[in-house]
């Protein structure tokens, strides 16, 4: 089998806030035998504009992403919502436009959320990380409902030596992030995050694991504000590559 050439879409939040997750994704893709490149001019997938009704700016950024990534066999992002943007919404941005639509659809078909790619495309069998403690997994909305990411992260976490997975109740209920919703309706968003944090604590897990930076900042921010300094909030890529 020829080597898979993967373009890593780092995502704007990983780039700005948690670069270590980008490196963890890189490590996992290489562990799966991929040849990984990181286009340096990449910025944002356009999702904030798309979700806020700013179609023109979303479209301009979508063109940029398509041009930067269409040369790879696959595009992988450590985020369900960014991968979901490219996979399910780019075609809506270019609806009715022959050439751009074809390019958008071609890219959509080769774009994956990280754990989905590792399990279903690269078929990663062994993960480099280890973790001592219990984990609970929060299903991020876009990954779950736009891309069907549910079993994949759990299958990978099950391979991590020392890690025990325990399910919280309502793991599929939104944490309240919702992009600009978290700022426009801060009070409601924080109340939703609080409900999620209570379920996480009730699960008794040492760490909540998830696949999207938005949920991560939201949940971690609420845990810390409510005085919980102990429950860790980790991206799935961090756990899969964690060093003992």
């Amino acid at each position: 089998m020829p080597v898979m050439r993967v373009g890593l879409f780092v995502t704007c939040l990983v780039d700005l806030v948690r670069p270590r997750i980008g490196f963890a994704a890189l490590e996992l893709l290489e562990a799966a035998g991929c040849e990984v490149a990181v286009p340096q001019a990449q910025t944002c997938c356009g999702q904030p504009g798309w979700n806020s009704g700013e179609r023109a700016s979303a479209r301009a950024l979508a063109e940029k992403v398509i041009a930067e990534f269409e040369g790879f066999d696959y595009v992988v992002a450590p985020s369900g919502s960014c991968a979901g943007m490219i996979r399910t919404h780019y075609r809506e941005l270019f609806a009715g436009e022959g050439a751009w639509l074809a390019r958008a659809e071609a890219l959509a078909a080769r774009t994956f959320e990280l754990t989905d790619f590792l399990v279903n495309v690269a078929r990663l069998t062994r993960v480099p990380g280890r973790f001592a403690g219990t984990l609970t997994y929060h299903d991020s909305c876009a990954g779950l409902r736009e891309l069907g990411v549910k079993a994949q992260p759990r299958a990978l976490l099950a391979k991590v030596p020392g890690a025990a997975l325990t399910e919280m109740t309502d793991s599929e209920v939104c944490c309240g992030f919702g992009g600009t919703f978290s700022i426009k309706f801060g009070e409601i968003s924080a109340a939703m995050a609080q409900a999620k944090c209570e379920r996480i604590r009730a699960s008794g897990a040492d760490a909540v694991v998830l696949g999207d930076l938005g949920c991560m900042l939201n949940i971690e921010g609420r845990l810390r504000r409510s005085g919980d300094a102990a429950t860790r909030v980790l991206h799935v890529a961090e756990v899969l590559t964690a060093k003992p």
Binding site: Q40, E187, R224
Partner: protein
């Protein structure tokens, strides 16, 4: 009902501060959603999803030729002795009901649940004209005593707890207080019985209109619908024009999906297909049957980017699965229809400028779309409304400016790299030793009111990657 959707944020804030309401919302929690999930599993998940697909197709077929199916309905209903009246808006609907009251000298109306009558504020119009309206659905009855509007389209008093209802009953029934649900229900039945027997008008909604037979179909659980539509000498069914379906076969498919999606029931306790008034020799039924078909903004959606919303069969699954609705309750939405379906319908019926927050008040988590029995892409419709708001300049100036600035930078990698490099460092510094930012300025305040903002690591991925020497190109 008075439109107050423009105040969503203040109303939601009040709802969050109301401990009793919060307790009631938590108790309601995922009850209906769990029941729906169990009903779906019992039906077979794949078969259920096929039924959703088929139901959406049925609704689309009806909407594609809405005018033709409505005329067919009118023709068939008229042929069977009903009188069909068209009302363009809420005011006309009320005027038509009052005209019927005047024509037949009607003084007391018993009502079964009708969201359209809420849209038209029909009770106020009846009372003002000297016709006493009595709600007979238990939830609606409770709210009529309380002087409140429904907070959920199928469980109108879901925001109230047992204690609140007990207090209302003591106040209005003048009987000793009871906290036993069975006893309280019996008490309400006794109170309502007298109204059932003395009313000369029954007003119901209509879950579906069947074009091929001219029938009105009603789905209820308490039996009050039967009384309302058969006991008084005049029955008025008042409903939105989008409720029409072509055939009884279509009705049967939709009646499999509706109760399962709403309450998780295989079938509701009562399911009535009302075709024409009482005929010679019939044991019961109204002497006169009127069907008022109300537009009130619906035809504006036909052929628009929001047409899929007209598929809605009013099951409430979207609000039962909506984490925002579960957090702030139905009254926050400020009009008849709450939750995701209300966030589309309210701006669509009442004007985009009168419900500015509603299309924004969603995390677009998609739970509503997955639960919808007729597969209405609610998140997409909310996004479409957001686009309309942008196009019509209805978003704040600062928000638009921020998006322009962000898009400008994101298309210029050198500028973006510089801005994020500075941003990461400033935010890192703001996070201090804990790495948590307690207070962000400007729009970021919305975040830090109830949460810390976890500070960045300090250098961007881009910088670190370049420094690692791995860059090939």
């Amino acid at each position: 009902m008075q439109l107050a959707s423009i105040h969503f944020k203040q109303r939601a804030s009040g709802a969050l501060a109301n401990e009793r309401l919060q307790g009631n919302l938590k108790r309601f929690g995922s009850g209906f959603a769990d029941k729906r999930a169990a009903a779906r599993a019992a039906y077979g998940a794949d078969a259920f999803d096929e039924l959703r697909e088929a139901s959406a197709a049925i609704r689309d077929r009806a909407l594609a030729d809405l005018d033709a199916w409505l005329l067919r309905f009118e023709q068939e209903a008229t042929r069977r002795g009903a009188r069909v009246i068209w009302a363009e808006d809420a005011a006309e609907a009320c005027a038509q009901v009052l005209a019927i009251c005047a024509r037949h000298g009607l003084k007391k109306a018993i009502k079964s649940k009708s969201m359209l009558s809420e849209e038209a504020a029909l009770n106020d119009a009846l009372a003002a004209a000297g016709v006493q309206p009595v709600e007979t659905d238990l939830g609606e009855y409770i709210l009529q005593l309380a002087g409140e509007a429904p907070s959920h389209i199928i469980a109108p008093a879901i925001h109230k707890d047992l204690g609140e209802v007990s207090e209302l009953f003591v106040k209005h029934h003048g009987r000793p207080r009871s906290d036993d649900i069975g006893a309280m229900t019996r008490e309400a039945r006794e109170m309502l019985r007298e109204h059932f027997l003395s009313a000369d008008l029954g007003i119901s909604g209509g879950n579906f209109l069947v074009a091929e037979t001219g029938s009105v179909a009603i789905v209820t659980n308490e039996g009050n619908g039967r009384m309302v539509t058969t006991l008084p000498r005049v029955h008025i069914a008042i409903t939105g024009i989008e409720k029409v379906v072509p055939t009884l076969e279509d009705l049967s498919a939709l009646n499999r999906i509706l109760p399962r999606s709403a309450t998780g029931q295989e079938i509701s306790n009562y399911f009535s297909i009302l075709t024409g008034p009482k005929r010679a020799g019939d044991a019961d039924g109204p002497e006169q049957l009127y069907v008022i078909l109300v537009d009130n903004g619906r035809t504006r959606l036909v052929g628009s980017a929001l047409q899929e919303m007209l598929r809605c069969i009013r099951c409430g699954a979207c609000m039962n699965h909506c984490p925002v609705y579960q957090t702030v309750g139905g009254h926050s939405y400020g009009w008849v229809y709450p939750g995701p379906m209300g966030s589309v319908l309210t701006p669509a019926f009442q004007g985009l400028e009168n419900a500015l927050d509603l299309p924004q008040a969603s995390t677009l988590c998609g739970a509503c779309h997955v639960a919808c029995p007729v597969k209405i892409p609610l998140p997409d419709l909310l996004r479409t409304l957001r686009e309309m708001q942008m196009e019509r300049g209805l978003r704040p100036w600062a928000e638009r400016a921020a998006f322009c600035a962000w898009a400008f930078a994101a298309r210029r990698p050198w500028l973006y790299a510089l801005a994020t490099r500075i941003g990461a460092r400033v935010l890192r510094w703001m996070g201090g030793r804990r790495g948590m930012i307690r207070r962000l300025p400007l729009a970021g305040r919305g975040w830090t009111l109830g949460r810390e903002f976890p500070a960045p690591e300090g250098r961007t991925f881009r910088e670190l990657y370049r420094a690692s020497g791995r860059q090939k190109a």
